[in-house]
Amino acid sequence: MKLRSCRFSLLIGLQLILRSAGAQGLDPAKLLKPATDTWPSYHGDYSGRHHSPLSQINAGNVKSLSRAWVYRANQVAIKSEPLEVNGILYFTVPDHVWAVDARISRELWHYVWTSKGGTRIGSRGVGIYGNWLYFETPDAYLVSLNIRDGKERWHKELADVALEYFGTPAPLVVGNHILVGVGGDSMDVPGFLEARDPETGDVQWRWYTTPRPGQPGAETWPNPDAMTHGGGMTWMPGTFDPELNLLLGHGQS
C-alpha cells in the first residue's frame, strides 16, 4: 500500500497524504492555512509560491516517478491547475469541468457549458467555496456548480462577449468574495477585477485596472478616452496577503 500511495503522489506532483474526506466541500477559512493534504486554490495557497512543504518527493527520488494512472479528457489541452479537495481533483478546459477521484482516476461528474462565441484559448481552473464550485467560460460567464454532482446552480454574465471579452482565470476565493477577471486582448476594452457574491453571483465591487477620471494615476494618462481603453486584462488569478488584506497581481495588471 505504501508503494501505491507513493506512486500516486508522484503522479500529480504533490506529496498528498489523502486522509479522511469529511464533506466534499471546502471551508473558506482553511484557505488561509491550507492543510498539506490539499491544494484548494489555483496557487495552492494565497502566497502564489506553488510550493508544498512536504518532502517525501525530493531531489534524491524524483527520478523514480512513475505513472499511476491517466485520465483522458478528450478535449483541447488542459491548462488548468487541478484543485485537490478531500481526495477529489477538479479541473477544466474551456467549457468543461471535471471531478475525478485523485486516487483511481474515477470520473465523478463532467459538466459541459455551451459558449456562444468567445475565445477558447484556455481555462485556468476553478475556485471552491463551501459546497460550491466556480469557473469562467469562453463567453465570459461565471458559472457556479454543486461540488457533489456538478449540477449548475446559476450563471452570471461577467462581460459582453460582443466586445471580445472572454473568461480564462480560475476564480480566487477570499473570504466571502469570488474574485473574477477577464481576458480580452484583441480589443482596447478596459480590464477589470470583480468580487462576486458566492451565494448569488451578484457584483460586490468592480475595479478597473486603469484609473477612471479623478482616480489616482489618472493624471499619467494623456486623456480620459485613452485611460478607459487601456487594456490590462485580469486573465490569471492573483495572490492575496491576509495580513494587509491586499490583493496582488491578477494577470498582467
Binding site: 500500500m1 505504501k2 501505491r4 500511495s5 489523502l18 486522509r19 479522511s20 474526506a21 469529511g22 464533506a23 466534499q24 478531500n86 481526495g87 477529489i88 477521484d101 485523485a102 486516487r103 483511481i104 474515477r106 465523478l108 457533489r148 454532482d149
Partner: protein, 184 residues
Amino acid sequence: MIGPVILNGRPDKGMPSFKMTPDQISDISAFLHGRVRDIRYRQLYHVKEFSGDVRAGEAYFTQTGRCASCHSVTGDLNHIAAKYEPEVLLGRMLYPAPRRSQPSPRTEVTVTVTLASGQSFSGPLAHLDEFTVSMYDASGDYHTWNREGLAVIVHDPLTAHLEFLQHVTDDEMHNVMAYLETLK
C-alpha cells in the same frame, strides 16, 4: 463464398438464382454467419421440459437454499415464470442481473468504512481494490481513502447468489427451476 450461390442459384438442385445487389448479398451472408455462431454457442437452445421435482424445489426454496429470506413467490417472484423464458430465468438465478446504472437497494453493493479514529461511514460502494476504497455517504458526499488502517466491510445483496452458484447441485438447480416454472 455464398455470393455466387445466391446470385446464380443451383439449378441442378432446384435452387433458383436471385439477382440481388452486392449489399443485399453481404447482409444475407452476415445473417447466415450469425446463425452459425448462435448454434455454435448454443444461443438457440430452448428448455422444453423440466426434469426437476417441484416439491423438492419448493423445499429448497423455502428451507435449504434460504431463497425465501430475500424473495417471495407472491411478491418479487409473482408470475416470474410468465415474465421470463425458462433459460433466461435460469440464467438470472445463476448469474444475477448486472448492476444497473440506476442502483436498486436490492442489488446495490454498500460498504461500511471505519477510520482509525472510530468514525464510521456507510453507503453505496463506488470503488474497491487492494489499496483504495471509495464510497458515497448518506448525504451524497463522495469519499476516497487509502485502505491502510481502515476497517472495510462490504455488503453485497447478491452474495447469496454467488455462493449458491458455488454450492448448488444439478438436482437442486433443476428442482428449483421446476418449482419456479409453476409461478406462471
